[in-house]
Amino acid sequence: MTEKVGLAPPVSPPIRLTRGSYGFKQRVIDLSAQSIDACYQCGNCSSGCPLAQEMDILPNRIIRLLQLGQKDDIINSETLWICASCFQCTVRCPRGIDIQAVMDTLRQIALEEGIDHFGPGQIDPEQAAEVPQPGLVGVYRKQST
């Protein structure tokens, strides 16, 4: 029996949208209590995000991918872990979407799926002794299971 070698998958396959594409979006809407559909992609959140320069997918595009139900792209992004929860996006959104809450929800879902970004083994003990508690509590609550 010879092994069949399949074709390499395409680089940018089209997204095939159907009615069933939106379960993930609905879950995020329910958990975060934010109106994801209201986003009209103005980009204000990305423009003002202080951590945008470190991100692979900008905040507005995360919301866009969410609107189109693209769970995998979102969960596997670096963006969720680079977000510092500074609320700048929330304050500026013209449609009143609390983007920080959406990010928290996405992080939570990612953690549920087993994507653990940060663990106690990764912290520098010297730093741990000096850094004020909110820093430690924040990083654990948002970035690890």
Partner: protein
């Protein structure tokens, strides 16, 4: 001497003890006393995330309820994170009746074990957000009034250019905090003026310092702090004043990493607002905990009253 209920928060005990001590000293000079709650727990530091909307409200609600049950309606807190968490908890409990009911149901559960009702023996009353949470700076602005500070200055900070740094959680999100305009705030500037110093205007005063990324992604935090510090210095600041312990940690101790990464970087001393306040009100330098700072504070202290060290009031 008025006593006001005070919630210190975890950081005040050790890592940010200089913030705590200077705040208490300054309060005494201004005629009120920070009366620490008898029993308190960690507030959770970051506001509840999604699904845990109710669970993580319990700890802060418990704190707030204990204040109310002790017969008081005002709570001062000094750590920005605690302020943000407590104030937003209050807002949730006040504005959403379902949350309120669920929170109180949980609180009622541990009623028999915890005996923290101090003065009120009466029947159970739901906590409905009766306590007003003040940030120490908010208390100065709204209850005491800045004239009280100016009238009591022993070492006016004339000639000092101080840049305010707000950070993120003191002002945002606007709907729930309502302390000041998050895009163009003035509370720390007015505070600086009341001390006799000159506030410095620079563009990065509300940009994030990196917060907890300092632990999980230090490079990002280094870059952000570099931008903030350089902007303040280029606008003529002698020092930066902060109110959040995590911001203090990032802007101060991260200067070592910034120094290694950026050859053109010059150190800038960072102060807690309460340190400057108590120094201006005449408290000795030795009580300020300046030895904990990474960036050297002596250039600033030299400018104040000409004496660096044990100098006392005129």
């Amino acid at each position: 001497m008025t006593k006001v209920a005070y919630y210190p928060g975890c950081a005040m005990n050790d890592r940010a003890s200089h913030l705590d001590r200077s705040a208490r000293d300054a309060a005494v000079k201004l005629g009120f006393e920070l009366d620490e709650l008898d029993k308190w727990t960690c507030c959770g530091a970051v506001p509840p995330v999604s699904e845990e909307r109710v669970m993580n409200l319990i700890a802060p609600s418990r704190i707030l309820k204990s204040v109310r049950d002790s017969g008081r309606d005002t709570l001062i807190t000094i750590c920005d994170f605690c302020y943000n968490t407590l104030k937003r908890t209050n807002f949730s409990v006040k504005s959403d009746i379902i949350t309120r009911k669920r929170v109180n149901a949980f609180l009622a559960d541990d009623e028999p074990e915890r005996d923290y009702i101090e003065t009120d023996d009466s029947l159970w009353k739901d906590y409905t957000g009766e306590v007003k949470v003040y940030h120490y700076m908010e208390y100065l602005r709204d209850v005491l009034g800045y004239e009280k500070i100016t009238d009591n200055l022993k070492r006016p900070l004339n000639g000092l250019n101080i840049a305010p740094y707000y950070g993120c959680v003191m002002l945002r999100p606007l709907n729930e905090i309502q302390l000041d305009n998050p895009e163009n705030p003035s509370i720390i500037e007015n505070f600086i003026i009341s001390l006799g110093a000159e506030p410095v205007k620079y563009s990065y005063r509300t940009e994030c310092c990196g917060s907890y990324l300092s632990i999980s992604n230090p490079a990002a935090s280094t870059r952000l702090c570099y931008r903030i510090l350089t902007s303040a210095r280029n606008s003529g600041a002698d020092a930066i004043v902060v109110s959040c312990p995590l911001c203090f940690y990032n802007l101060d101790s991260r200067q070592q990493a910034i120094d290694e990464a950026y050859p053109d970087f010059k150190a800038l001393p960072i102060f807690y607002f309460s340190q400057l306040l108590s120094v201006a009100l005449g408290v000795e330098y030795s009580r300020q905990g300046f030895e904990k700072h990474y960036a050297d504070v002596s250039p600033v202290l030299d400018k104040i009253g000409g004496i660096s060290g044990k100098g006392d009031a005129k």
